[in-house]
Amino acid sequence: MLTVQQLSKTIDRQRVLDDIDFTVGAGEIIALVGRNGAGKTTLLRTMVGIIRPDTGDVRYGPASIFEKSELKRDVIFVPDSADALKHYTVNEAAALYESIYPKFNRSTFRETLTRYNIDNKKIRQLSKGQKAMVTLSLAFAVQAKYYLLDEPTDGLDVVAKADVLKLMIAQVEARNCSIIVSSHQLHELERIADRIIMIEKGRVKAIMSLEEARETSVKLQVVFNNQVPVELLERKDIEIINVTGRVALFMAKERTKELDTFVDAHDPMLVEEIPMSLEDVFRVQLGGESSVF
């Protein structure tokens, strides 16, 4: 089990990580979501020992990752770009990984390359999608237990994104490894994540399954007999998505009886609960704006 214990970090007098605490079990896919600058990348970099925390620890089993660097053979960090290996050819990169990680499976890596038609070129000469596939395939061929992926589908086209997600799911199914993935592509995470960790200003705002997240908040479409009441528009605990004539579409952070009573009191013609997507949960919980996605 990978345990993150009371991790805190201050950079430039700003608390970037604040008492982060969670565990990652075997075979889990955890989505790390939060607005830009929330501390997701810093958290991932700290979890693999790139950054040292001011307080707290990351433990893999009984040992700290900051004390036993060998543990990092089982905890692999994949950054959002393949810049680090850009001067290597695909084969050279594989040879490097093979010499660092004893469990590196060259045939698995080769299979992926063949499946996605990736030639043995310098990594910097590959397309963005191919780079992502190479870095992920290298990481997965290591056969580690934990993967920390930082925006793995960032900037990829639809097909490449789907390939990356397929590769991730296949690995978890085949090897029961765990993945912590940070991404702004919430509709993708929704399809694969078992749990969501919401980060806000360096703190864990919530850790929950998608079902729990959906149950916590509510998205309603209400058709009023008269005009949409001003009191509804002025409520602080809801986010209005759209108002068209007598129809209001809004989300509430929490599903409360008080809200139900309030809506009923304004004589609605129709109240319909709309299923919440992860994007909706993100918006209502973390106060997102369209620009952050």
Binding site: I11, I51, R52, S69, K72, R73, A84, Y88, I100
Partner: protein, 375 residues
């Protein structure tokens, strides 16, 4: 998992510079010797053709001097001696340039890119990462010396000037060893600067500053005292004693190099003994000192400050103060020396202007410069 993997990774980064260093090292050791011998040839031809024109130096007793006689100490080394043949300065200059470049490629340019994150996420501790980098760079200097040095000896030995080396082979080998140690010392200094300089350019700047600082600060103090008091004799004495002290030779490879008396080391036993003890041990001590400090700081450098001029943000104030004081003294000296005799009022004005400009520069360099690619 073997440590060799790290060496392989670092080799990939620095191989081009490493090979260039070895090649240029061989050139720097041998080419100047060859060209110097060409000059000797010309001078010998000239003297042998017209001995009467050189009677002033050689006297009448040598009517048709042999080559050996022309190089005899009796005639005050009219043409030259063994020391003239050995490219001491050129080789050390090459090692300074390549030492700094290799160190900045090994650490600084990693910090400029995501390579640093990749390296730090590997299952190695920071000691292993640093030692691997140090070994790669050091090996380049050793290989270039081991190839260049003996080649230089061979070139001299197989020439008509081989007599210059008679009885001095050990001294020449010692000098090659010293140049190698100085190269390693300078590279270790550059690598140490990479332990806190947050990117490649900052690392090179820090390296240049660190190389010049010990001698530079003495010069600034000397200049300041002179500008304020006009006490030339006392100040010069202070400067000379400081620059020749063992302490200065240990903390400054540059001072150590300047203090080697290559002119007398082949003839004066005391100079030779001093060279073998003080010069060699100072270079060795500096290597141990800079390697140890570099390792210690590399372990503690906050990786989140990659891209900054100075990574230990808690100590920025100290760097700021040192910068301001040094530039203030420099400003004072420049302004005071505009008039003759030096003027202490002008010194104070220059001090304030230099200090103020340095303060502005330090603010920009230390607090605002951040080439971080990603937070």
């Amino acid at each position: 998992m073997s440590f060799k993997v790290l060496l392989k990774k670092d080799w990939k980064q620095v191989s081009l510079l490493w090979m260039l260093l070895v090649f240029l090292g061989i050139v720097a050791y041998t080419l100047p010797v060859w060209t110097q011998m060409q000059t000797f040839d010309e001078q010998v031809r000239e003297i042998q053709a017209n001995p009467e024109e050189y009677a002033e130096w050689y006297g009448d007793n040598v009517k048709n001097p042999s080559v050996e006689e022309l190089f005899s100490p009796e005639y005050s080394y009219f043409i030259g001696d063994l020391q003239t043949l050995i490219p001491y300065g050129g080789v050390i200059f090459l090692y300074i340039i390549f030492g700094f470049l290799m160190a900045s490629v090994l650490i600084g340019s990693e910090r400029n890119s995501q390579m640093s994150d990749f390296t730090m996420s590997l299952p190695f501790n920071r000691n292993q990462l640093y030692i691997s980098k140090w070994l790669i760079g050091t090996s380049g200097i050793i290989v270039s010396s081991l190839l260049g040095g003996p080649l230089m000896l061979w070139v001299i030995h197989s020439s008509r000037y081989s007599f210059l080396m008679d009885g001095h082979a050990l001294q020449v080998a010692g000098l090659v060893g010293f140049m190698m140690l100085t190269g390693i010392a300078v590279f270790s200094l550059g690598l140490w600067m990479g332990s806190f300089g947050g990117e490649a350019v900052s690392q090179v700047l820090w390296s240049v500053v660190a190389l010049l600082f010990p001698v530079g600060i003495i010069l600034l103090i000397q200049g300041s005292i002179y500008s304020l008091t006009e006490n030339t004799a006392g100040v010069y004495d202070l400067f000379e004693r400081a620059i020749e002290s063992v302490f200065m030779r240990v903390i400054s490879p540059l001072a150590n190099v300047f203090n080697v008396d290559t002119f007398n080391m082949f003839t004066d036993n005391t100079v030779w003994e001093n060279f073998m003890t003080v010069a060699m041990m100072s270079a060795l001590s500096f290597i141990i000192l800079s390697f140890g400090l570099g390792l210690w700081m590399f372990n503690r450098a906050p990786q989140e400050n990659n891209g900054r001029f100075f990574m230990f943000t808690n100590w920025l104030w100290l760097v700021h103060v040192i910068m301001v004081v040094c530039f203030a003294m420099l400003g004072g000296i420049i302004l005071a020396n505009l008039s003759y005799p030096t003027n202490s009022i002008l010194y104070l004005i220059g001090f304030v202007i230099g200090g103020f400009l340095a303060h502005l520069l330090a603010k920009r360099l230390l607090y605002r410069l951040n080439l971080k690619l990603k937070s």
